[in-house]
Amino acid sequence: MKINIKRFNQANEPQKFNNEFEVSNTNLLQAFNEIKKEHDETLTYRCGCKSGVCGSCAVRVNGVERLACKTNINENDVIEPIKNSKVIKDLVVDVSHETLLIEKTNSFMQDNSDEEIEQKDINKIDRQSNCILCNSCYSSCPVYEANKSFLGPFALSRALRYSNDKKMANNDLIIESIQSNGIWDCTLCGACTMVCPQGIDPKMDILQLQGLASQKGYTNPYQATFDSNMGFDMSDMGFDPNGSF
């Protein structure tokens, strides 16, 4: 079986080049390993757990974000690095924004409440706390593509995870910190939801955050524009081609 890998190497000319490889493994991560063994030791990619939990091996297969370790490949598949992040080498991209985003959204436990925790409270944050920081959602997000200051899907899902944690005395700080370049900038296109390997739904999470913010008296700064100029219908959560950016 042939697969095509789009590669990038600062030291080589031309910088971007395609490589076709013949592989026998159908699991993509195993195919990468096979390439290093049989064809080219310089192929560069990240991997760790091989079981879909460390989040290190996200790539795009025929334009869709996938974890290499969980992906079966087909003839002539095209493999490339995830988008919206600087490519370091071949399939490895810069993920250093993670720390910054968590910091900006204050997504961590702050003051503890003394409330009793029930299983239903745990269920409420279970899905969001399964995030493996694989960056697939960032790669797919059109808003993040246009505006690197946008807080973006996983950071906002994490913000909701802590906002909804009953153990936390109050979530004012988080809600405040996601106003600018945050929840109102998302177009609710759902691209992030489509690609999340952990079944997380950042789009719904962002909607929930908008609800929480509204309760605290925040308003959508773009609302007026939508209503008067674009006739944006809030009940239609599909992709808005005009975007809000």
Binding site: T42, K50, S56, S96, I117, I122, I132
Partner: protein, 534 residues
């Protein structure tokens, strides 16, 4: 000059970092991966603690751990861990780990092998993932400094005092040195050296232990490698012990059960492997549990079986085999993480803190790494008595290492590194795995030494400075080889069978080996001996 440098960003490293920072130490975490890519995320089952003394007791937890260790552990050290377990869980709970709750809103617990009590706390099927991410979020909150994708190459040790580290910045390819008043190694275990026969992460390559050995540290109990009975055939992805705990069967090709599934991990693993060496397949059979129960109790196992083996647990048999999973041996420390080198500490799976002995109980590792990680982080912070200044350090380590790396780039590459890595895994699994004897071990020793002697024919193909994973994997491979040799030598020396260590030529436990093994490097050769358990 830092107060505390921590190498490794698994739960052991991050727990240590948080407590060092709490003591106002100038703290830095250096890790060869991104923090959340650490192997700790793979832990599924849970973390042990006696939370409610009406049903269980700390004494019972100590006794279970001691029994599993086959008596080569320290009851004092185990007691320290078990007595602090409740605080550990409460702390994790407070900082946001979403532990499951029972009907009375208490933290839920499940049953793990090797104990009669229900003692394992969990966060659905993702206990390690949720613990590690929560710790990471806390590190960001507390503004802990990180150097990610920086790999430790060597320790700077002068007069048996550790003063700093030499690291390679993977991104830029630069080699740097950083000084610190104390250094904590939290680099994980060495089951990953069993390449292709392990549940461990690809990044688990025994680095910290190999580097400590070369720097003069004492290693201990390196022959004790725990094999998990049920890993998926081909991928060696773990299927949690809960599958058998909840009533799953182990069956042969004719559908017959052949072992009591609830026996200790090492016994079950050996029974399975015996079948496999006779060219028979072994399966995990959960069909009788039904879809509902499977989905209720082990959704992640069902997903793994489907995604990686294309098997529906409720309808089909799941082919499994044993795989190297956890390593009890490591850098010898006391309960404060201190090694035989001043100011060098070790914590987590890379350490041998006299707790797990010849066998580790499921759920005790997460407990150890967080409890001792925290303790060692604050102990190291409080014991900074050495006022070394940069002027006192005369090390030429940095130059030596730079030269060494330059040399590696000159090696010819006639042999493929990745094929060699596979070969080492195969040799270790076949000859120093579940069953071993003097002959097999000697053969393994010879073969690994041969590979080691051909390192300059393996070399690296990628000659670029930036993000050279090929070079990184070559350096890791040297560590794998060094530790493989120690594992084999230690296994040769322990002429008995105890816990996870099974010698076909010495099938019984032998009281004269009621000792810790010890391995040090003397004139570039591994030297093994035994010492009393204290």
């Amino acid at each position: 000059m830092y107060d505390v440098i921590i190498i490794g960003s698994g739960a052991a490293g991050l727990s240590a970092a948080l407590s060092a920072k709490e003591k106002n130490s100038k703290t830095l975490v250096i890790s060869k991966t991104q923090p959340t890519h650490s192997q700790t995320v793979q832990a599924q089952g849970g973390i042990n603690a006696v939370l409610y003394e009406d049903k269980d007791s700390i004494e019972q937890h100590v006794a279970d751990t001691y029994n599993a260790s086959k008596e080569i552990s320290s009851k004092d050290n185990i007691n320290f861990m078990c007595s602090n377990a409740k605080d550990t869980i409460n702390w994790l709970d407070e900082i946001g780990v979403p532990f499951n709750r029972d009907k009375e809103n208490k933290i839920s617990q499940r049953k793990f092998g090797g104990t009669k009590k229900i003692r394992t706390c969990y966060s659905s099927d993702y206990t390690g993932l949720k613990i590690l991410h929560t710790l990471f979020d806390q590190c960001i909150k507390n503004k802990i400094e990180f150097l990610n994708e920086h790999v430790l190459l060597d320790l700077i040790v002068e007069d048996k005092i550790c003063k700093g580290v030499v690291i390679l910045d993977i991104l830029s390819g630069e080699i740097k040195e950083i000084y610190s008043k104390s250094i904590i190694l939290a680099t994980g275990g060495y089951a990953g050296i069993y390449q292709n026969f392990t549940t461990n992460s690809y990044s688990n390559t025994a680095d910290g232990i190999a580097i400590a050995l070369r720097a003069g540290a004492k290693l201990s109990n390196m022959e004790f490698v725990q094999f998990h009975p049920t890993a998926l055939v081909n991928s060696n992805i773990l299927i949690s012990e809960s599958a058998r705990g909840e009533g799953g069967y182990l069956v042969d090709k004719d559908g017959n059960r052949f072992i009591d599934e609830l026996k200790a991990r090492d016994e079950v693993a050996r029974a399975i492997y015996t079948r496999i060496t006779n060219k028979e397949s072994v399966y995990l059979d959960l069909r009788h549990l039904g879809l509902e129960k499977i989905n209720d109790l082990m959704p992640q196992e069902r997903r793994l079986a489907l995604e990686f083996s294309n098997v529906k647990l409720e309808e089909e048999l799941l082919p499994i085999n044993p795989a190297a999973h956890y390593t009890m041996g490591g850098i010898k420390t006391n309960i404060n993480g201190q090694t035989n080198i001043k100011n060098l500490y070790a914590s987590g799976e890379c350490a041998q803190a006299n707790i797990h002995g010849a066998n580790r109980l499921g759920g005790n590792s997460l407990l150890e790494i967080v409890t001792l990680g925290k303790h060692i982080g604050s102990y190291a912070s409080e014991n900074i008595d050495n006022e070394i200044s940069v002027q006192d350090i005369n090390s030429n380590k940095l130059e030596l290492i730079k030269e060494e790396i330059e040399n590696i780039f000159e090696y010819k590459n006639e042999i493929n590194l990745y094929k060699c890595k596979d070969e080492v895994g195969q040799i270790l699994f076949d000859k120093a795995g579940l069953f071993k004897d003097k002959n097999s071990l000697n053969e393994a020793l010879k073969q690994i030494n041969e590979i080691k002697n051909s390192l300059d024919e393996i070399g690296v193909v990628d000659k670029q400075k930036e993000y050279n994973k090929n070079l990184l994997e070559f350096l890791e491979f040297r560590n794998i080889l060094d530790i493989a040799l120690v594992v084999i030598e230690s296994a040769l020396n322990r002429e008995e069978s105890r816990g996870s260590h099974y010698r076909v030529d010495y099938p019984n436990i032998d009281v004269s080996y009621l000792k810790n093994s010890k391995a040090v490097l003397e004139e570039n050769k591994v030297s093994c001996s035994f010492e009393d358990v204290v």
